[in-house]
């Protein structure tokens, strides 16, 4: 058997790592997925290659995050390796080894925001962002779309690319009023430098295959047609599955594979998904086959039968309404931005962020400079309930000279409190500094 698209598979189940012995993110998580992939004989398909992950460096992490106190203290080896797996996925595709790649690694990353005090939603660092920013430095900047099909809002990826017009983030998820992390509303459209480039599609509980298909076809594909990305990444969380213990959706392995096939991403990465026996083996096999351009029609769950997971008419009409409104926002993004930001020199955004796994509460104020020449230098003032205080400054990859200068100016300003740790993230020059070093 020969794959139509060559595929690099980074299957790293980290069989010796868990958050805790009975935590959903435990050693067993990819055991049955590996069994299924082995039994299907995926390793013997011409054109599918298995790669070991690399290991990310602290510089790779600092390109994306302000880790407090620092990456070495917060991260375990498994995080460096999961991010390293993502780097390997980018190397495989952008280095020309394979047409596509799929990082089946753990732990996931899409809840990790720019500021990191600890674990949120089983994520500490945003592995896809770490991989992407590494790739942008190594292979040149690219217009990228990240389509997050995890059931939870990809609030970490949203935060990281909030003000980046070259990274279109689209998150499918169960409505935040009914599920962690409680965000991901349609109105969250991005910062002044990238308004409209953050797209949330909050779906009602019990959305099934046809609902996802509808949104993909009628909203996501037209947006991609407009945006014309150089690279598409699928954050392939698998907890929309009808067997997932933590969520309330009715998506199936066939649905996931069909979505992946239609979306046609260059790179996919596993996110959440904790139905490790009933869903993951089948969903992952479906995605592998879809990416390789092979027939996935035989991949279905033991308890799957058509009709059982059909969504109700009420859900269908809700989904259609959401799809329409999301597309409208996209079409009107310039006008909406004009209305929201006109005449403003800076835009502030105040938020509270809860680290559910680590039990930390953070309060932050983000400040974005509205710049006519670049997305604008921006800052995040953050405090947590354990007394940490930080100021993170980001100079964007394509910053103008004025914003670059201003970033350093703020970083070097001595007037701020000595309790505050300062970070400078200079993406333009790939330099990462902290005040207390």
């Amino acid at each position: 058997m020969k794959a139509k698209n060559t595929l690099g598979l980074i299957l790293f189940p980290a069989f010796d790592w868990a958050i805790s012995p009975t935590h959903p993110e435990r050693e067993e998580r990819l055991l049955y997925t590996q069994d299924q992939i082995l039994e299907e004989g995926i390793e013997d398909i011409d054109g599918i290659h298995f790669f070991n992950p690399g290991i990310a460096t602290t510089k790779d992490i600092n390109r994306v995050h302000f880790c407090y106190p620092d990456p070495e203290t917060l991260l375990t080896e498994s995080h460096f390796i999961a991010a390293g797996g993502m780097k390997r996925a980018f190397d495989a595709v952008l280095g020309g080894e394979t047409d596509k790649s799929f990082a089946l690694v753990r732990p996931p990353g899409h809840h990790a925001q720019r500021v990191v005090y600890g674990d949120r939603g089983f994520c500490i660092i945003n592995i896809e962002a770490v991989g992407l920013e590494y790739a942008r430095k190594k292979y040149g900047d690219r217009r990228v779309t990240i389509v997050d099909t995890d059931c939870h809002h990809g609030d970490g990826t949203e935060d990281i690319y909030w003000n980046d017009p070259d990274t279109l983030f689209i998150s499918f998820h169960q409505d935040g009023r009914t599920l962690y992390p409680g965000t991901g509303y349609m109105e969250e459209l991005g910062g002044p430098g990238a308004y409209g480039y953050n797209i949330n599609i909050p779906l009602p509980p019990n959305t099934g295959d046809e609902g996802f298909q509808y949104v993909l076809e009628n909203t996501v594909m037209p947006i991609l047609e407009d945006f014309q990305p150089d690279l598409i990444i699928n954050s392939a969380g698998q907890d929309n599955h009808y067997t997932d213990p933590l969520t309330n959706m009715n998506f199936s392995a066939q649905g996931y594979a069909a979505l992946n096939h239609r979306l046609n991403p260059d790179i996919a990465v596993l996110e959440g998904g904790y139905s490790i026996q009933g869903a993951l083996p089948y969903v992952n096999t479906g995605i592998v086959l879809a990416m390789a351009g092979l027939d996935y029609s035989g991949v279905y769950e033991p308890d799957y039968h058509l009709g059982k997971w059909k969504q109700t008419d009420r859900v269908t009409s809700q989904v259609q309404d959401i799809a329409r409104r999301v597309l409208e926002n996209w079409k009107n993004k310039e006008a909406l931005a004009e209305k929201k930001f006109k005449g403003k020199k800076t835009v502030q955004r105040q938020r509270q962020v809860y680290y559910d796994t680590a039990g930390i509460m953070e309060g932050q104020i983000q400040e974005f400079k509205v710049c006519p020449d670049c997305p604008g230098v921006n800052m995040v003032h953050s405090k947590n309930d354990r007394g940490a205080q930080i100021l993170g400054i980001t100079i964007p990859r394509n910053a103008c000279a004025a914003c670059e200068k201003e970033g350093y100016h703020i970083f070097e300003d001595k007037s701020s409190s000595s309790k505050q740790k300062k970070y400078l993230q200079d993406l333009l020059n790939d330099r990462y500094l902290t005040s207390s070093d």
């Binding site: 058997m1 299957l11 790293f12 189940p13 980290a14 069989f15 010796d16 790592w17 868990a18 012995p21 009975t22 959903p24 435990r26 050693e27 067993e28 055991l31 049955y32 590996q34 069994d35 299924q36 082995l38 039994e39 299907e40 004989g41 995926i42 390793e43 013997d44 298995f50 790669f51 070991n52 992950p53 290991i55 080896e77 498994s78 390796i81 026996q277 083996p281 089948y282 096999t285 086959l289 092979l294 027939d295 996935y296 029609s297 035989g298 991949v299 279905y300 769950e301 033991p302």
Partner: protein, 561 residues
């Protein structure tokens, strides 16, 4: 006394070894019309003047099954597959009688959908109208739960003599390979049974009652009873014989080494890691079929002492073909052997002719003859070096699944080379230069393969799973599917795995002090389902690794060039 016989493509070699000393060796060409006769002829000559009562064992490396497969001299097999949900493999090369059944078990061996007896009856009816001689029955995930394969077997057992069930062949997961392996096993079963019967009959006439063992591709042996059940295990044992022969001829080294067997046509390359052989990750490939047959990792390249050396578009080319013998040994075409003769490292039967031929080519390409001879030899070294580097790149990139292994990043880095074969001694100094490693070669190598076959000891590998939620412990290789308690744990599983492997070793005739059972991998996963507490999914791989029954006594130790 141990008798070892290695049947290769061209020659059949035999040795008699007593107390670690080589008593007798024979070498004959293989009679391709009658493989049994070839072996018997060799055996008869070896046994002249030897009292049958003094023979402890006969170890055979045979190409009986290999040849049956590559020459397509196999039985008509009815194949019954239960593919379950998943990737739709297309099996086009399983003969004319392929039947699919519904029903399936999942990755844990839980029955998802039962067998359909009506379908089975239809298959039986259909098969009965066709000239089918053997059956292969394979289900997806049958190693996790062989119930369906067994029930299908029982349904057909009065109709067919040779029935292969997939789960018996290997505990490894890989459905398409299990299908191919079971198909081949069924296809060669009767050929191997005939061969065995001939052999036993002939031995009985001679009054020989010593047990017979057959060499496997993993460098271990299997007893005749085992081989009759799993004849597919006997395929491609040639490289394993050569590998084990080298283990017998060279000093033990607990380091990484590269082993090279350079013949007339091809060169086989193997590796040792910390003195332990490197295996094929999943199984060996035969006749473009990927199988689950465990094998020592070996790579064969078309380069040897008799490879064709010529000039193409003003550049020197070597191999991959052998046209005939070296000029120095009566052939017509220049070879690396002729270059070694020119350099005074070998003596041929026709050294003058050989040198003339080399001079002729030197003139053609505008080099001094000696420079050409050196160039040829260094090209051989370079090709071997490049091949080794390619293989190591591949082996060092084999997937790992734990953080410990990934961080360890254990790369194979040969510290020395062990080499046998016709040009080994002459080539050694040049290869040493190319590889920048010490190259060792033994005093005698002519019957290394037969020595390897003779001294190989039985091997066993098991893949155990203990699932405390289903309360089942399974060892497909030993057909063990037993009840366990909720409290079963990793320690118990490891102890039991070692006990099972040791017991299997004893059954195969290994003395206690030679069993050396070991755990290869062991892990225990917490299973958390709903609110019913924590169960365990325990996985243990154990083996008796390939080794030598006895070390060969040194007539003269191996040499470093």
């Amino acid at each position: 006394m141990i008798i070892g016989i290695d049947m290769g493509g061209t020659n059949i070699d035999g040795v008699a070894i007593h107390d670690g000393s080589l008593i007798k060796t024979v070498k004959h060409p293989v009679d391709r019309e009658n493989y049994f006769f070839s072996i018997w002829h060799c055996l008869e000559e070896l046994l002249q003047n030897i009292d049958p009562q003094n023979i402890n064992r006969i170890n055979l490396s045979t190409t009986i099954c290999t040849n049956a497969i590559v020459e397509n001299n196999i039985s008509e097999v009815g194949v019954i597959l239960q593919t379950g949900p998943g990737l739709k493999w297309v099996f086009e090369d399983l003969g004319s009688y392929l039947a699919y059944l519904s029903g399936s078990v999942d990755h844990r061996g839980i029955v998802v959908r039962d067998l359909d007896m009506k379908e089975l009856a239809e298959i039986k009816e259909n098969f009965s109208q066709n000239p089918i001689e053997a059956l292969a029955i394979v289900n997806k995930f049958s190693t996790r739960n062989p119930e369906f394969e067994q029930r299908i077997h029982d349904f057909f057992k009065s109709d067919y003599e040779e029935i292969t069930m997939g789960h018996q062949l290997s505990g490894k997961l890989n459905f398409p390979r299990r299908v191919q392996t079971a198909y081949l096993n069924a296809a060669v079963a009767s050929t191997f049974r005939n061969f065995t019967n001939h052999m036993l009959e002939a031995l009985a006439q001679k009054g020989i009652t010593a047990p017979i063992y057959i060499l496997k591709a993993d460098g271990g042996t299997i007893d005749l009873k085992g081989a009759l059940n799993k004849p597919v295990e006997t395929i491609l044992s040639g490289p394993a014989a050569s590998f084990m022969g080298m283990r017998a001829l060279f000093d033990d080294a607990q380091t990484d080494r590269c082993l090279i067997d350079i013949g007339g046509t091809t060169t086989d390359i193997f590796f040792l890691v910390d003195g332990t052989p490197v295996f094929e990750p999943t199984g060996i490939e035969i006749d473009r079929r990927k199988t689950l047959v465990r094998a020592i990792y070996s790579v064969s390249i078309g380069l040897g002492g008799d490879s064709h050396v010529r000039i193409e578009e003003n550049t020197i080319k070597i191999g991959p073909k052998r046209l005939d013998a070296a000029v120095a040994f009566g052939g017509k075409h220049l070879t690396p052997t002729d270059a070694l003769v020119y350099l005074g490292k070998m003596t041929g039967q026709y050294p003058d002719k050989s040198k003339d031929k080399l001079k002729e080519m030197a003139q053609e390409i505008g080099l001094e003859p000696k420079a050409l001879a050196l160039k040829i030899v260094s090209m051989v070294g370079q090709k071997i070096k490049e091949t080794i580097e390619e293989i190591l790149d591949q082996l060092n990139a084999n997937p790992v699944y734990t953080i410990e292994k990934l961080l360890q990043d254990r790369r194979i880095k040969p510290q020395a080379v062990e080499m046998i074969g016709g040009p080994a001694q002459a080539l050694a100094p040049y290869l040493e230069e190319s590889l920048e490693l010490p190259v060792f070669y033994p005093e005698r190598y002519e019957v290394a393969n037969a020595i390897g076959a003779a001294l190989a000891k039985p091997t066993v590998e098991i893949n155990m799973i203990a699932d405390t939620e289903r309360k089942i412990l399974s060892v497909p290789e030993l057909e063990i599917y037993e009840k366990i308690g909720k409290d079963y744990n990793l320690d118990k599983a490891q102890d039991y795995a070692l006990e099972l492997v040791s017991k299997a070793g004893t059954t195969l005739g290994l003395p206690q002090d030679q069993i050396e059972a070991e755990i290869v991998e062991a892990s225990s996963f917490n299973m958390v389902q709903g609110y019913y507490g924590v169960d365990k999914n325990i996985r243990v791989k154990a083996q008796i690794k390939p080794g030598l029954l006895t070390k060969l006594k040194k007539e003269a130790s191996s040499h470093e060039s």
